[in-house]
Symmetry: C2
Subunit: 381 residues, 2 copies
């Protein structure tokens, strides 16, 4: 496949270096795509994303469908023009958000739902309502908008049409993301539905210049994951997404199960994974692309990523700390501001704090991946 | 006075061009100082303030005294280092905020107090309490913190000591800013107190390298304003601040009343004034320096300044508008984003919207003043 070239394979693991060619430029893999949920990487301008070194971003279909609406973005010339991001863009299928508003709900019991999450879902309201917000059938999913309670329906065909209107370079097949608490029976049923939907997505896709990725599901069950990888891997998708919701150990196991069934020459996107440790493990297991709200959401809560873990800048110990977040960090934030100042900005509720933290966290993320890429190059990974 | 040089006087008005030399660089007057209330021009980095073309900023003593505390800022090397702004900084005396929490309260009745204002004062809480939060006596003012209800006291000596610790280049004498609704008798009493405090501020000031400005008060009363200008003008201040709270007509009258009594060779700072029309009128009447939260606060509410007035980007009419806020604006926001995208950012609650609006509004403010300066140069103002 000429759009994806593997440049080097690690001798010590399944890791690989590649180049993915999209309609709006190259992505050197492994690569992390920062989340631009609502057509903006929160608080940053496109030039800053480039300055940090990211080549692509991921936008959320569910959010943009509801606001401002894919038809509006199409009329305005598509996502690239709308958000003034000239590089590669991926959009997810909308499935994850649709289901996380519905079937995912029971898992959330016990979780403190005090604030809007990255995706601006008003979770308290949802918790209060208790009702299932998403209704699944063989044809698609009906759901209510978290913005105004209006009723909507996604089908595989609709998801593709929306993603064609948005105009991203990488798009995903509509899938059902099951809860890790779901039974074997339900997970299998959902997986088979996802497989049917995958074929429908391939059938309905018309627009040129968009790479369509299928999504492997199957929950925590080995045979289902294998079956799903084999099936999705056999279809003429341009790339493979790995969906699901898992902790680190389950993730590692899942990636080991499915690897033999993934076509070697297709790019593999592990959806929604972003912890540094997880990235390292996933790259070792042959994953090429990642997206996650983790570094940017963390930033907005005053948590800075460092090479020694997360640092919560709200802590009183930083009140008089003249040092930067990380001494050897070359990012704008660390080059210009002290922990004491950042502590003050967050305590005072100043949005400059979020901006500086977002910049730093994404910078660190990028450095982390660059180091891994270098190690693969040097046969040390 | 070597630190302030008048370069040119208008032949058609009292306007003048000058250079004010501070410990951290020059300010070419007339000049607007963006508000960096809590040691940050909300959402922007210092480089952007410079890029827009501003030479100085104004921080608020009241806010920084309460959080993080002037002692902390001193230990961290002073305000310039703390906020990484190498250019001129002014701090106000803290008086305005202290009084706006107390005596100013009765005026606010009827005003919709739904949100935190620029100064992060939790107005609803204050309204609910009803109690006077500030108690004035001849020696100073006792007040409760809007952050935690703790009791504090400002005196002229304390205000100067705090401002010395903060380390700004331009500082202000502690004054009582009376309500325009106050009686003649009360206004006179407060003015006389402000005069006494002015002398105490001059007496107590120790630190070199800070320019101390006295403040003219006197409310809406002609004889009081004249008396205050004459008195403050006679003291060895390095500059004159004009305090008070007024509409455009009262402002013009007040500036006309006091002008004959203001020393020609001292810089004059009209406190808290920022509407474009008011700036023009005040510059005509010989004012040199300005500060106001107007352009930045406006921005955060989705209001863009244009050469045709304010534009509220929330309006549905902008949903599909591909044009920039202003066609001939060279600012980053107008060069890169459509009204439709900015409309989306504000509707979606994205802080990038505030950032882009703040940048544009300050840019327009700067252009507006540059045009006036050019007109003074060309003898057309």
């Amino acid at each position: 496949m000429s759009f994806f070239k593997i440049l080097k394979k690690s001798k010590k693991s399944a890791a690989r270096l590649g180049i993915l060619k999209t309609s709006h430029g190259l992505i050197h893999t492994p690569a992390f795509l920062p989340c631009a949920t609502q057509a903006t990487v929160k608080s940053l301008i496109p030039e800053e994303i480039k300055e940090i070194g990211f080549e692509g971003v991921l936008c959320n279909t569910y959010h943009l469908y509801l606001r401002p609406g894919e038809k509006i973005i199409k009329k305005l010339g598509g996502l690239h023009k709308f958000m003034n991001w000239p590089g590669p863009i991926a959009t997810d299928s909308g499935g994850f958000q649709v289901f996380s508003l519905g079937f995912g709900l029971e898992q959330r019991v016990g979780k403190v739902l005090k604030e809007k999450d990255e995706n601006n879902l008003e979770q308290e309201k949802i918790k209060g309502q208790q009702a299932k917000l998403a209704q699944i059938d063989q044809n698609g999913v009906s759901f209510t908008s978290h913005l105004d309670g209006s009723i909507h329906r996604f089908t595989p065909e609709k998801s593709i049409r929306i993603q064609e209107d948005l105009g991203a370079d990488i798009i995903f097949a509509f899938d059902e993301c099951t809860s890790p608490l779901a039974s074997y029976g339900y997970t299998k049923k959902a997986m088979l539905r996802t497989h049917l939907w995958a074929k429908r997505c391939l059938r309905v896709k018309e627009k040129k210049g968009q790479l369509l990725f299928g999504i492997v599901q199957g929950g925590p069950f080995k045979d289902l994951r294998k079956e799903s990888a084999r099936f999705i891997g056999s279809l003429p998708f341009e790339g493979i997404g790995i969906g699901g919701s898992f902790g680190q150990e389950e993730m590692k196991k899942t990636l080991d199960w499915i690897r033999p069934y993934l076509p070697e020459n297709k790019p593999r996107h592990l959806l929604g994974i972003g912890y540094l440790k997880d990235l390292r493990e996933a790259i070792k297991r042959g994953m090429d692309l990642f997206d996650c709200v983790y570094p940017t959401r963390l930033a907005r809560h005053g948590n800075f990523l460092t090479n020694k873990g997360e640092m919560n800048i709200f802590k009183a110990v930083y009140r008089l700390d003249k040092t930067p977040i990380m001494k050897n960090c070359a990012c704008y934030t660390c080059q210009n501001f002290s922990r004491a100042y950042l502590h003050h900005l967050f305590k005072a509720g100043e949005i400059l704090g979020s901006r500086l933290a977002t910049f730093h966290n994404l910078w660190l993320m990028r450095q982390f991946i660059e180091e891994i890429k270098q190690a693969i190059k040097d046969n040390k990974f």
